[in-house]
Each structure stands twice: as C-alpha cells, then as structure tokens.
C-alpha cells in the first residue's frame, strides 16, 4: 500500500525538534482488525499506519464506530480473543502483535500506559486508590510496599489531588469524576511509560474539569517525555494539544497531517464536514451549521468504493468504484484519501463550497422587540431541596442537598433561553420541577400565565399539551418495544384524539422532522441516533405545544449528526412559533442556538444576559472560567488562549460556602484586597444589572473580560 511506512518529519508543538533517525516510540503499520459477529464479519479497522516519537502527541479523531478505540486496544493487546488482527505494532522497534499475554503484561503499564474514558467504572471499586497505584508500581518494579506508597502519594500530588497523604487511602467512589481521572493518569505515568494512550479521557467530564485534566495530561507528558496518542471525537480537544492529527472514518484514516493542515486546510470532505458542523464558541455571527447527511456505513457490509460516498456532497462516479488511498495533498506530511483532493488543493473546488449552507427562516416573533412579547414561562425564587441520604444499605439523612436555591428565569414568546451549567449545578432539577407542573416547595412557576400552584388535576393535564420536552438520550427516551407510529400516537391518544386524526397527525409529524411516513412501522432500534432524536422532537410537537424544553438535545449525538438536529430545531421554532428552554452544558451549542443565556452554578443563576453580552463580555468570574475552558477547533487560537483553570471540584450542594458560593474557587477572589474578600465571604451576592440592559450578574465585583 502506498501509505504504508510513510513517515512524517516532525516538529513537536513544544518546539522540540525530533530527528528522523530515531526509532519511533510507537509504530503501527497496516493494522487490520475484524470481528466475527452475527451480522457477518465486522471490519473494524482496515489499514492504520502511524509513527510516533517520544514527546509527540498524535490526535486520532473520529465518530463512534470509526475504529479509533479498537486500534488503541489492539496496540495494548486487549482485544477479545475473537478479534483477528494483522499488520504490525512496534514499540521501540519491538513487534508486539505476536506476543502472548504474559509478555504483553510486562510491557503494559511499564512502557505502554492507557487512560480510559469512564473514570467511574475504570477503577476497581473494592480497592483503595492508593493500593491500585501501588499495585501498578509493584507489578513492574522491585519496590517495597512503603516506598511504593510514598511514590503513590507523590504521583497523586503530581496530578493535583489535594491532600494526597490522606486521599491515597480513599476508595474510588469517594473521589469525584475529575479526581478519579487524575488518579487514572497517576497510575498510567507511575512507571514512566514511553507511550500513553488516552481514549476519550475527558469525554465523561465537565468542561472546566476537562480543562484541568488536559492540563494534567500536559504535565504528565512533560514529566515523562512520553508520546501520547489522544483518541477523541472532539476536534476542539486536540486542537491545542496534538502535534499531528489522524482523522478516521469507517475503520480507515482518511486524512492525516500536522494539526494546522487539518484545521486550516482540510482536504477530505469528511474533515471539512466535521469542522463545519461544530458550533464554535468564537463565531461572531450566527450562521447555519453544515450537517453531514446520512450515517456511517455498516462495517459488516461496506460499499464498494469510498466508504464516505453516500454522505459526500462532492461524490463523483469514481468514488463509487474505487476506494481512495491516502495520498499526498498539499504539504508532504499532509495526506488525504479522497479522489478529489487534488481539486481541493488547487482551489478549483473551494473548501467552503463543498457543503451547501442550509437556509434557516427567521422567526416571526423575533421581529417584535423582546419587551413587547409576552412571557411564556416565569420562574420566581424557585427552590428545591432534597434530603441527602448516605449509605446504600443504611439510608439515613445526613443533610440537605440544596439543588435549586432560589432562581428567577423568564422566557418570552419566540425566544430561546439557554440554561447552562455543569453537572451538579441544578439545571436538571429545575427542569424536572417545571415539567412536573406542581407547586414548588418555595417560589412560583407560571406557565403561559397559569400559576402551577393553583392547578387542578385536569388543568394540569391540559397544560401539559403546551409544555413539552425533548430529552438528551434519544436511545433512552423512546420505548424500544413500540413502533415509531405508536410512540408518536401516544400523546395524541392520551388526549383522546380519534384514530383517523391520530394517523394523519403521525404522518404529518414524521414529514415535519424530515422522516418518511413509512417509518411509522419501524422500531426505534432501526434508526440512527440523529433520526431517533428527530422522532423525539416529533413526539414533543405532537400536541402542538407553545413551549418546548430541550434537555441537552444534541449532547448524545455524534458531531456530524448534531448540526442537522440543531438546524431542524431552529427551523421548527421559526415555522411553529415555539419558545425554547435550551438546557445544555455546552456553551458553543448554546451560543449557536440561544437568544438569551442563563449560567447556573450550585443552584443559583450567576449571570444572565443576551447571548452577545454573555459571550463577548462575560462578567461573572465563573462564566469567564467556563468560557475559557471550552476548546476551540483552531490550533493557533488555542495555543494563544490563556485558560482560567478553576481549582478543585464543585462543592457539594449540601455544604454551600458562606457568602458568595463561588468564592472558594474564584480566581478573582484571590486577587482581591482583604476588605473586599470579607465582603465575598460575608455577603451572598444577588443578581444585579450591569452596564447594558438585560445583563445581570451575581458578583460583587463583576467586570467584563474577554476570554474567547
């Protein structure tokens, strides 16, 4: 194969020049992996080649099913026995693929370390963190228990675990997600490995924690000098971290190159599509995203020719006959597997014209000034406290979780309000309180002019028509045992619609969200994630609601699918005069979709304002930190951006600090004079207006700061 043993001269991002004569730390050549399955042989990986030198970072980017994780598992020799692996994996020149478990186990953890995605399940629940790190040390080194323990404490300290002397004896469940991932990294670097493979190491974490973990990984790289393979679906995460990027699709690399090439001069329609479908934090004007239509191909029945052909907007006849191989496209380290790469390089096919930009109609309501539109949803001083129980067997109350601790929020007709915050901030609780349509413990919820406290059973049921919800996980929100038609009919039936009417409405709804009426007989499992989310949206719209709550509607979808769903939501809002409450943790998505944004922290809204106010002049230190933590898919910008790293984790909502609840993590607090600090400690700041109308922040010393 032409792409095999191609080597790329390298310039490491931290400026360290790497000589070409070195033996690569890791060399993967012609790696092919297939699995037998009920549906036939699954060709999970079909020819992967890369070389990696010490200190270098390779980002492998791809959607689920692209083969990126399987490649990593093959390198570690951790694939199930049924996997058929051919090709070569060399670590420091030594072939690994023919080694048995015993020999591999001497290499794993010592020369080759791994950081996994889900830190919750990746540590053994019944052993302490310390004993697991000690084990990693003792497996490979002749070291006494006491020394190993000392080293474990050092390692925990290195990865930023506070009070490591004490924490070393904690069990994994006593650690937060971010701390577990730190412990995983500590374990990975324990034996000074030559190569660290990180498989989506930050995917399960919140964005401010993600920034911390990426920072820890950088430290780990600097301390060990290891080469890092960073596997991710998020082009933003690797932009500022990787030296080179490999984009994978359907088991193959489709574009490789140094990071700048990939982001600034993509030469493969898939990469172009991925970059165009991500909502970006640094977009100044809102433009429609360019979705990649369709779905990745079935790996057990790949089409002849290019696997991307069915989704490619510039497909030509040859794509349907010959699968393109990686060939030089532009600079000599930039390779692309596309028959039309040449046209993209010369510019005869401009990159930004590859994907047609969809037209999104403007909402009618948006033409009326905001303060003249009626409020459709008003929340005043909402509280929701839970008793905190401890112990799985002994459930006893040990405190109170102040999940929602006094929030005000207003949604006007025709607008989208983004409610943003990290896990634990109370946004889901707020949303559940809204959806229950019952009288809150404290505070008031008014939906379309009706106070939920005064509703009768029947009125409440009637009101449900007007307030509907789209959930995060399209897999979980559709009953797998019901055909789509029945799922869409359920709300209609429960409000007593006639059969013929129901049938007509189901057809109409399917068309509305871009599906075919024949799909009514299929089951949810037969649809892709994006299609399922469309069904979820159709169901929410069945009763013609006025307000729709969108609970992280795209966060479970692959990026290329996200864009289509976001565009659909935008279009429906304009067509049907909807108002949205868009709950999300991803500020880039919110920037793209919302008119107004409210930022939540520990049960309170800390800043609220128009989207431009929040993103261009964030005034609460938390908003600033949150924005600065979000990676931008732009390597140069990423390297120049100064990150505001928050210290530690979100405090427990049972134990909220006095005064300002953000003060113990607040970067601004540390710069304040003592007298000012006393104010933060003593006085709980409430939302107050800033320079521009409609922009409020709950900080005594709010001041705008540009962080994007």
């Amino acid at each position: 194969m032409s792409q095999s043993s191609e080597s790329f001269p390298l310039q490491s991002q931290n400026g360290r020049a790497v000589s070409l004569n070195d033996t690569p730390a890791l060399e993967v050549a012609d790696l092919e992996i297939s699995f037998p399955s009920e549906a036939g042989v699954v060709s999970a990986v079909r020819g992967v080649n890369y070389q990696l030198r010490r200190g270098e970072v390779l980002g492998i980017v791809g959607e689920s099913g692209s083969g990126k994780s399987v490649t990593a598992m093959a390198v570690l020799g951790l694939l199930p026995e049924t996997a058929q692996v051919t090709g070569s994996v060399r670590l420091g020149g030594r072939e690994l693929l023919n080694l048995g478990d015993k020999e591999m186990s001497k290499i794993r953890g010592r020369e080759l370390a791994m950081v996994f995605q889900d830190p919750l399940s990746a540590l053994t629940p019944v052993f302490t963190i310390g004993s697991q790190i000690i084990e990693a040390l003792q497996v490979h080194q002749d070291i006494s228990k006491a020394d190993a323990r000392k080293r474990a404490v050092e390692l925990l300290d290195l990865v930023g675990i506070p009070d490591p002397q004490r924490r070393v004896d904690n069990f994994p469940h006593e650690f937060s997600g971010g701390m577990r991932q730190r412990a995983m990294i500590a374990q990975a670097i324990a034996n000074d490995p030559a190569v660290i493979i990180a498989d989506e190491p930050t995917t399960a974490l919140d964005v401010t924690i993600q920034a911390q973990i990426l920072d820890v990984l950088k430290t780990a790289k600097d301390v060990t000098g290891a080469a890092i393979v960073m596997i991710t679906h998020d082009l933003g995460v690797v932009a500022g971290f990787a030296d080179r990027v490999m984009v994978m699709y359907a088991g193959r690399p489709v574009e490789t190159g140094v990071v700048e090439d990939i982001y600034y001069e993509p030469r493969m329609p898939y990469t172009i599509g991925l970059l165009g479908s991500i909502p970006r934090l640094d977009d100044t004007e809102r433009k429609a995203l360019t979705p990649i239509d369709g779905n990745p191909p079935n790996l057990s029945a790949l089409p002849v020719g290019c696997p991307f052909q069915a989704r490619c907007p510039i497909v030509v006849d040859v794509c349907r006959q010959v699968e393109p191989v990686l060939e030089r496209a532009g600079s000599d380290v930039h390779h692309s597997a596309c028959h039309r790469a040449g046209e993209l390089v010369t510019g005869s096919l401009p990159v930004d014209e590859v994907y047609p930009v969809p037209e999104i109609p403007e909402a009618r309501a948006a033409r009326i000034p905001r303060d003249q539109r009626p409020a459709v949803l008003e929340i005043t001083n909402l509280h929701k406290h839970f008793p905190l129980t401890r112990g799985a067997l002994a459930k006893r109350k040990v405190g109170e979780v102040r999940a929602v601790d006094g929030i005000d929020l207003e949604i006007r007709a025709g607008e989208t309000v983004g409610l943003v915050g990290e896990s634990g901030c109370g946004k889901t609780t707020t949303l559940m309180q809204l959806l229950e349509l019952v009288s809150p413990e404290q505070g008031k919820i008014v939906v379309l002019g009706k106070d939920t406290a005064n509703l009768h059973q029947n009125e409440r049921r009637e009101l449900r028509r007007d307030l509907q919800v789209v959930f995060q996980d399209p897999m979980a929100s559709l009953d797998p045992r019901m055909p789509v038609g029945a799922i869409l009919a359920e709300p209609l039936r429960s409000f007593g619609r006639k059969k013929a009417e129901v049938f007509a409405r189901v057809t109409e709804l399917l068309k509305l969200v871009g599906l075919e009426p024949e799909h009514a007989n299929r089951f949810p499992a037969e649809f892709s994630g994006g299609q399922r989310q469309r069904i979820g949206i159709a169901r929410a719209l069945a009763l013609e609601p006025k307000v729709v709550i969108l609970d992280e509607p795209v966060s479970a979808l692959d990026v290329s699918i996200q864009a289509g769903v976001l565009n659909l939501l935008e279009e429906l809002k304009a067509k049907l005069d909807l108002s949205y409450l868009f709950v999300a943790h991803d500020l880039s998505v919110v920037r793209h979709t919302s008119d107004r944004v409210a930022v939540m922290y520990l049960g309170r809204i800390v800043e609220v304002g128009d989207v431009a106010q929040i993103f261009d002049a964030p005034s609460h230190p938390y908003t600033q930190a949150l924005l600065s933590a979000i990676p931008v898919p732009d390597p140069r910008k990423e390297r120049e951006r100064a990150r505001i790293l928050l210290e530690g984790d979100l405090p427990s909502p049972t134990n909220i600090p006095s005064g300002c609840r953000f003060r113990n993590r607040c970067p601004k607090f540390q710069t304040l004079a003592e007298g000012d600090q006393a104010r933060c400690i003593g006085e709980d700041p409430s939302l107050h207006g800033l320079d521009e109308p409609g922009h409020e922040a709950a900080c005594h010393f709010a001041g705008a700061l540009s962080v994007v």
Partner: protein, 328 residues
Amino acid sequence: MAAYLLRRMINYLFLVIIAASVTYLLAAWIFHPENNWLARHPQPSWSVIHAELKARNEDETLTPIWTRYANWVNGLLHGNMGIEIGGNSVAQDMGRRIGVSTRLLALSTVIGSIGGVVVGVWGAVRQYKLFDRVSTGASLLIFAMPVFTLAILLQMFATWFNNATGTHFLYYVNEVSNPNQPFWTWSDLVDRFEHLILPTLSVSLGSVAYFSRYQRATMLDIMGSDFLRTARAKGLTKNRAIFKHGARTAIIPVATLLSYNAVLLFTGAVFTEVIFTWHGMGEWFISSIGQNDVNSVAAVGIFTSILVLVAGLISEVITVTLDPRVRV
C-alpha cells in the same frame, strides 16, 4: 454502622415475630390434636382428652384460638414452649434436635458456599470450555432433581458401593451406628464422618449448583468490566486481573444470597433428615404435622424464622465487610 445493624435487626425481629405467629395461628386453626386420643383403642373419655389438651394449651373445642395464642406467647416470654403431644418438653426436644441439624448442616453450608463460588468463578473464567460445560450440565441435572430423588439415588449408590467393595464405608441411615457409643473418641468421630458423607452430599450438591450458577453469572458480568481492562492495562496478566480484581468484586452479590439459602438449606434438610433418618428439626417437623402437634410445629416456625434472621444479618455484615461502597 452498629446503629444501622441494630435497626435492621429490629426490622427482622418484627418479621420473625409475625412469621412465628402466623405459623402458630395456622397450625392452631388447622390441626386437630384431639384426633391423637380419639384414634386410640380404647378411646379415652372426653374429660381425659380435655385434660390432656389443656395441659398442652391445645383444646380447640373449649379455648378460643386467641386465648390459646395469648397463652402460647405468655409461655414463650417465660421461656416455656409447651409440651409435645407425646408429653415431652418442646424446648428440650428442640435443643437436642437443633444439635443434630447443626451437625448435619454445618459442613454442608461450608461446602455449598465455597464449592459454589469456586465452581462458578472457574466456570466463568473458562466459559464454554470443558469445565464450564461439565459444571453447567451437572448443575442443570441437579436442579432437575428434587432433594429426595438425589438422596434416594445416593442411597442406591451406597448400597451398590458397599456391596461391590464388601465394606460398610458408606452409611445411609442414622447419625451414628450406636446411639450410646462414647462421644468424642477417635472411632466415634470416624463413625460420625462415615454417616455424614451421604447426607452432606445430598444437601450440599444443590447449594453448589445454585451458588455456582449465580457466581458464574456475576463473574461473567465482571469479566466485561472496565476496571478489569484497567488492571490488565497496568500490567497484570489476564488471570491475575480476573482473580484479584474480578473475583473479589464478583463475590459481593453472592454473599447476599446467604439469607435465601438458609431457607433453602432447611427445606433440603427436611428431606435429607427423613430419608437418612437423622432426628433433626426437619424430621421433627414432618412427624409433628402427622401428629397434629401445634406446639412442636410452632417451635419449628420460630426456628426457621430465626434462621432467616441470623442469615440475613450475616449476609449484611458480609456485604458491609466486602464492599467499601456500602460502608459508611
């Protein structure tokens, strides 16, 4: 933790009281102890019968059931469990029989639990290999055999074995050869052991089969877990990762099964005791029902409920010891 266990204990105690009461009330309502005397030849006079029944607090014709229940509870509170139909003290008989049952079940419990865990773990590790197939087949077969079938088959095997070898190595009746043989001597212990082999097999084979299926399933669950992958990624060999990290975690849910197993064991012991003529609690229960003996049956009810209580507590203590996640 202690407070928690205490609370659980009170909850269990409550259930035990209800269960024992239900047992007593059902027996008192359904049984007709007077039949024991009415069936005698010559039939005793009713005044004699009433006197006998009154002594046993079992006169359903004269004393209303609630009064009898109150008397029974009152007796219990004073440590008096009443008198058997045969005239012996229930408490004394029970004490002796608990000893017999314990000697039968202690070994079986240990074998059943440990054997089940070992067979289950090993079956999961060697999934679809020979050992797994054989143990799966064997447990399916054992599941298909009621305890009495197994016990009878064991007896038939013992007869054949003894005939074939010309020995008396396997005994299939009684606890000891001679009830009056001196206790705790070497020959006594050997004799007891020889008597114990078959009943132990008959009780514990079922437990091994039951536990091993469960242990195999939880172990298979664990085999796919992320933390095992982590353990291997840091350099443990597959087997070491499976045994150190996998088995240690997979054993936790099995420990909680203990409470159900206690009941299971008791039911198993009923058949084993009757068939191998051990005079334990199970045999007592069967003969008491035949005799319409309310007091004895109620005593068995108390015994089994307490068994469940103790087993429940033990299983919780074990869970708390094994699983740091529930430790508070």
